[in-house]
């Protein structure tokens, strides 16, 4: 089978599953719905592996071609098509595989839910959208996938649509994403302005020739076109990948069921921005301004969002803030031109973060939807598989040498350390200190949930037991990959020609080449990890967590009391939500009300239409007494009037 046919099948299989489960959910029943959707995603996963093998492992030819012409306007031809290369093949495999695990897990997690079929339909639809996004060969289709994942995420966060908090969160998520999408759309329009096409291959090929192009945004002042394009596109990435200040939707999105927190808000949708920037590397490489902005935004997100994880009590929210922070790491890597490191971390993160979410979900169902860590503790004995898998996930997350997260995160830290860009002065300390923070919140969560005193309430304790195999098997599989995936992948991904010509790095920016000089194989890298600074920072973080939450469990409250101001700042999430709520949500409503009551009702209708309206009012008050029958007369009079007018005009005019 050709790559084109394979690609088409990979895309259509989950779509078919989604359609069957969604439209014929009642007919196929619960088991029918999960069978058909899982089959669809399984087909995608297997075929994605073949594609991955052909393109990446065997180094074969990729594919770039259209599927159909979406539309043609003037000279602009817009197509739907596929670009299969090392980058998209990797993403396809990660997306479909993680999605498959989550589909299986969902059978257990959603077993009691009345919206079972609908849920399977949504997650398959999501998989389809995400695949559309990564397999696209042009900006239009990228935007299709981009918005589609946003919508499905909206549907999934609001899956339990009776809950006020859920439907509040999904609206917020959608609107914040839309702010990013606006930037993204304008970025696409800017690409069209400069390049005259929306096709990746043509744009990237022509990019170097336009390096010095300018466009004027504010009268007379010329900006580098590449900087404008990249910054606008990056605004889109900030929305999808939840970078400060567009990060506010992600923690709230935890209102959705846990499997989608894992699928969307860990493994796939939030990585869309990272993927997109990596895909656009030929453009970003031409603008150091953009790279600096990307790096600084990423650094701010990585550090400050990690801090918030320390004060959360909701287990899913800790993982959510951890995701924000890790996305910050990936963004920093992008800014440092270490695109490969960003994608590598994206890949390892997909495994261990999905693992952590699903483990959290396993705890949550075992405790009958209890999410507050203050009512957990000591669960390791009751849920051994979940416990061990969580430990693996935690170690991978903090970057313990040898675990997958170590390879990718250390790669990023090293790369940023070698960067010459000004932004690295901010980013390097941020990512280093971030390691301490990561270990602190991760082990805080781990200790609070699995160790220490059992604080579970009576009712829940009676039913407390390990989750069923549909839940634990995906956990074990993901745990396995979270351990091993880094070993074979690190060398080709960071230092080899894994991505071939897909990712373009300007020689001056090539930090990974500099990191490579000290690289002597994965084993040596891991061994060296034990004596490097990040390891000791992580160890310190874990030790502090142990001291505060196991050794002296009374201490954290006293610390919070002592540093009350700082603690309040963190609990209030730096005030972003309050500010946005008051300024944007409240502000737009106030403006809307003002424009309506003052503009439309008073000025236009009240003053401008005043005279005639009052006259009409008088006529109306007369007519109102006469019932509908007379309206015919009125209409009739109108026609007669019209005819009279026409006659007058026609015959009053000289017919020369």
């Amino acid at each position: 089978m050709s790559l084109a046919t394979l690609s088409l099948l990979i895309i259509l299989a989950p779509l078919a599953g989604a359609v069957v489960a969604g439209l014929f959910g009642r007919a196929v029943g619960r088991s029918g719905a999960h069978t058909v959707t899982i089959a669809g995603v399984a087909v995608s996963t297997v075929l994605s592996f073949f594609v991955f093998k052909a393109v990446v492992l065997d180094g074969g030819e990729g594919f770039d071609g259209p599927l159909y012409v979406w539309g043609q306007a003037g000279g602009l031809r817009l197509e739907i098509g596929f670009l299969i290369d090392e980058l998209s093949a990797t993403m396809m495999l990660v997306v479909s595989f993680v999605s498959l695990m989550i589909h299986v897990y969902t059978i257990g997690y959603m077993a009691q839910d009345p919206g079972y079929q609908r849920f399977f339909s949504y997650i398959s639809l999501f998989t389809f959208s995400m695949l559309m996004l990564v397999m696209s060969n042009n900006f239009l289709q990228l935007f299709f996938g981009w918005e589609a994942v946003g919508v499905v995420s909206y549907l999934l966060i609001g899956f339990w649509f009776k809950r006020e908090s859920a439907i509040q969160a999904n609206l917020k998520a959608f609107l914040v994403n839309r702010v990013g999408d606006l930037g993204f759309l304008l970025g696409i329009a800017a690409v069209l302005l400069v390049f005259g096409t929306l096709d990746y291959a043509q744009v990237f090929a022509a990019a170097p020739d336009h390096a010095d192009a300018t466009m004027s945004i504010i009268g007379g002042f010329e900006w580098s076109a590449m900087t404008v394009i990249c910054l606008l596109l990056f605004v889109g990435a900030m929305g999808k990948s939840a970078q400060v200040p567009l990060h506010v939707w992600l923690p709230d999105s935890m209102e959705g069921p846990t499997p989608i927190s894992a699928l969307i808000h860990a493994a796939t949708m939030v990585t869309a921005g990272i993927f997109m920037v990596a895909r656009m590397s030929p453009l970003f490489e031409l603008s150091e301004v953009a790279l600096n902005v990307v790096m600084v935004i990423g650094a701010i997100t990585a550090f400050f969002m990690g801090l918030l994880g320390i004060v959360q009590h909701d287990i899913k929210r800790v993982v959510a803030y951890s995701t924000l922070s890790q996305l910050g790491y990936m963004t920093v890597a992008l800014g440092a031109s270490a695109y490969a490191a960003a994608i590598f971390h994206l890949g390892t993160h997909a495994f261990f973060k999905a693992l952590l979410f699903l483990a959290a979900g396993s705890v949550i169902i075992a405790l009958h939807h209890e999410q507050d860590m203050r009512r957990m503790g000591g669960l390791w004995r009751r849920m051994p598989i979940t416990w061990l898998c969580s430990l693996v996930g935690t170690l991978a997350l903090i970057g313990f040498p040898g675990f997958s997260g170590f390879f990718s995160k250390d790669g990023i830290i090293e790369a940023v350390g070698h960067s010459d860009l000004a932004g690295a002065w901010v980013a390097y300390p941020a990512v280093l200190l971030g390691v301490f923070i990561t270990a602190l919140y991760s082990f805080r969560m781990y200790f609070l949930v699995f160790h220490g005193k059992e604080r579970v309430d009576e009712h829940a304790r009676e039913h407390l037991h390990e989750s069923p195999p549909v839940v634990t098997v995906p956990l074990v599989v993901l745990a396995f990959f979270s351990v091993v995936i880094g070993w074979p992948w690190v060398e080709p991904a960071l230092f080899g020609d894994y991505f071939g010509a897909t990712i373009v790095v300007h020689p001056e920016h090539d930090v990974l080449a500099r990191v490579k000089e000290g690289f002597e194989g994965a084993g040596a890298f891991a061994t060296h990890g034990f004596v490097a600074l990040p390891f000791w920072l992580a160890a310190a973080g874990a030790a502090v967590a142990w001291y505060l939450y196991l050794r002296e469990p009374e201490l954290p409250e006293r610390v919070a009391e002592r540093f009350r101001v700082g603690y309040r700042v963190l609990v209030n999430k730096y005030g972003f939500d309050d500010f946005y709520g008051a300024f944007f949500a409240g502000g737009t409503r106030a403006v809307g009300g003002l424009l309506w009551r003052l503009g439309d009702v008073r000025v236009i209708d009240g003053w401008l239409v005043n005279g005639s309206a009052r006259a009409v009012g008088r006529i109306a008050s007369i007519i109102r007494h006469v019932q509908t029958g007379l309206l015919y007369h009125y209409a009739f009079a109108m026609i007669i009037g019209l005819l009279a007018l026409m006659t007058w005009i026609l015959y009053g005019l000289p017919a020369d």
Binding site: Y68, V69, W70, G71, Q72, A73, G74, G75, L76, F143, E147, A148, V151, Y154, F161, K162, I167, L171, F174, L175, R178, V179, L182, L185, L186, I188, A189, A190, L192, L193, G196, T588, R589, G592, G593, L595, W596, G599, D600, I604, D605, L608, S612, A613, V616, I619, A620, R624, T628, L631, Y632, Y634, A635, M638, I639, L642, L645, I649, L653, A655
Partner: protein, 505 residues
């Protein structure tokens, strides 16, 4: 083979005469007959309009299916019909929408059934006539005559405040149209002809062009409607019965935008170019200002009405951004984006606003309220309806893959080529449109069952299902594959640009 047969006349006169026939079916105790007859007539008309597309030659900008017969020879007035790529999609939109309205009105309207259905059929014929007329007087007759059935629809089957709404509607639209007639007469004096295509070729001074442009503007801006002559629309929508709202939003508003394409641009291109910034500003105000106003509406129909005004702002923006673009050396490609985007927006808005008004109608028929506050948790009792409304709400927010995206996307792409800030302001609709639509959806459809009324709701019946499903298919089809629509428009838009680029001074 197709073009010899008078399909256009049939599409105009079959519904008008059919409407008169339905009218004679009379009393409400024989309503079944009237309903059946109206359904047959509307379906027949739709079928008759299909050959217009099937036999349409997308390779030319010339008028097709042309019919030409003397009417008032003394003044060179002809019965002259024809369609090109600009009017054909709107004709098909009209025949498609009317079928849905007739089906949707089947059981809902219980008094004066035959008159109700006849009004829509006659209205259909008149609207098609207006889109297809190539003689200015013929156009004017259709244009004014179609006010009458709409006036009756709102005035007889409307809500409590219908008299106020109808008079406001009538005064606004009628006053504007009179100026248009004056412009026609002036052009007649110049050309000794009422052929619209002759008007396109006449040389006019700039002052004359500006006066003509403003006269047309008075007529078309009210119909679109553009800010600040838009306030009749929310009132008319609120009072109109569901079918009236659907036709008003889906088809009648398009007449205004169509007027810009057919009259203002080709007849007064220099004036259009002179006044383009004014028009762009008005369009942006419509998009942004009205977007804000829509946000705070407590009444669903009013909200959708304001949303319509905001979306029509994209149509006018797309039209007039073309002039700014043409000033640039290689701006013609982008100008095509603007114009085609505007046209696609017209068709797409027809589907989406029609569908949303039908959705409100479905709820109104059950609970007799349009107020958002009277609903909540509708998804619990009407899941199928909720799914349809979700699709249309997302389409209204311009989701890619639905037709709502295509026009906005092309217009924003085009605008960006002219000016960053215009594109940015227009793009705000991405946020505002989603905000007002989905916030309404949240309050109406999501949540716990709000009251006993909602608890007792029945999901869609087969009739409602068919209507919404037909629109859903249209919305998705043109979203995923707008190519056929763009192909039909292409040559005519290029031809229009040729006219526009050539000075008429």
């Amino acid at each position: 083979m197709f073009s010899d047969f008078p399909f256009l006349s049939l599409v105009v006169w079959v519904p008008i005469l059919g409407g008169v026939w339905v009218l004679f079916l009379g009393e409400d105790n024989r309503a079944r007959n009237a309903r059946f007859a109206a359904l047959v007539v509307s379906l027949l008309t739709f079928l008759l309009s299909i050959p217009l597309y099937a036999g349409f030659d997308t390779g030319t900008a010339a008028m097709q299916f042309v019919e030409h017969a003397p009417w008032v020879p003394a003044f060179n007035i002809f019965y002259h019909l024809g369609v090109d790529g600009i009017s054909l999609p709107l004709v098909l939109l009209t025949t498609f929408t009317t079928v849905l309205v007739v089906v949707a009105g089947q059981e809902v309207i219980e008094h004066r059934v035959s008159q109700y259905l006849a009004s829509f059929l006659i209205l259909e014929g008149l609207m098609v006539g207006a889109f297809a007329a190539l003689d200015a007087i013929l156009f004017y007759v259709f244009w004014e005559a179609l006010l009458v059935p709409m006036f009756l629809i709102i005035g007889i089957w409307g809500g409590e405040n219908r008299v106020y709404a109808t008079i406001k509607f009538f005064l606004y639209t009628f006053l504007g149209s009179v100026l248009m007639l004056v412009a026609f007469l002036y052009l007649y004096a110049q050309t000794d002809s009422f052929r619209i295509l002759d008007f396109h070729d006449v040389k006019l001074g700039l002052t004359a062009q500006i006066f003509i442009f403003l006269a047309f503007l008075a007529a078309f801006a009210v119909k679109v409607p553009m800010w600040p002559v838009h306030t009749w629309l929310p009132d008319a929508h609120v009072e109109a019965p569901t079918g009236g709202s659907v036709v008003l939003a889906a088809v009648m508003l398009k007449l205004g935008a169509y007027g810009f394409f057919r009259f203002s641009l080709p007849i007064a291109p220099d004036a259009s170019g002179e006044l383009d910034l004014l028009m762009i500003a008005l369009s942006l105000i419509a998009i942004v200002y009205i977007g804000f106003v829509a946000l705070v509406q407590p009444d669903m129909k009013k909200l959708i009405a304001y949303s319509s005004i905001s979306h029509m702002g994209f149509a006018t923006l797309g039209v007039f951004i073309a002039f700014t673009l043409l000033e640039a050396p290689d701006g013609r490609t982008s100008a095509v984006l603007g114009l085609e985007g505007a046209l696609v927006q017209l068709v797409s808005h027809g589907f989406i606003s029609g569908a949303l008004f039908l959705c409100v109608g479905v709820m109104y028929d059950r609970l007799h309220s349009r107020r958002i506050a009277d609903y909540g948790g509708v998804a619990n009792t009407m899941p199928i309806f909720a799914s349809f409304m979700m699709l249309f709400a997302l389409a209204n927010s311009g989701l890619p893959g639905t037709s709502g995206f295509v026009g906005e996307f092309l217009v924003i792409l085009g605008s960006f080529q002219a000016n960053f800030w215009i594109a940015l302001l227009a793009g705000l609709t991405l946020i505002l449109g989603a905000a007002y639509t989905l916030w309404m959806y949240k309050r109406v459809v999501f949540g716990e069952v709000a009251n006993e009324g909602v608890a007792g709701l029945d999901d869609l019946n087969p009739r409602e299902f068919i209507v919404l499903a037909a629109l859903a298919v249209a919305v998705l089809l043109f979203g995923l594959w707008p190519a056929p629509l763009l192909e039909v428009m292409g040559p005519s838009v290029e031809n229009l640009l040729d006219h526009v680029a050539r000075t008429k001074l």
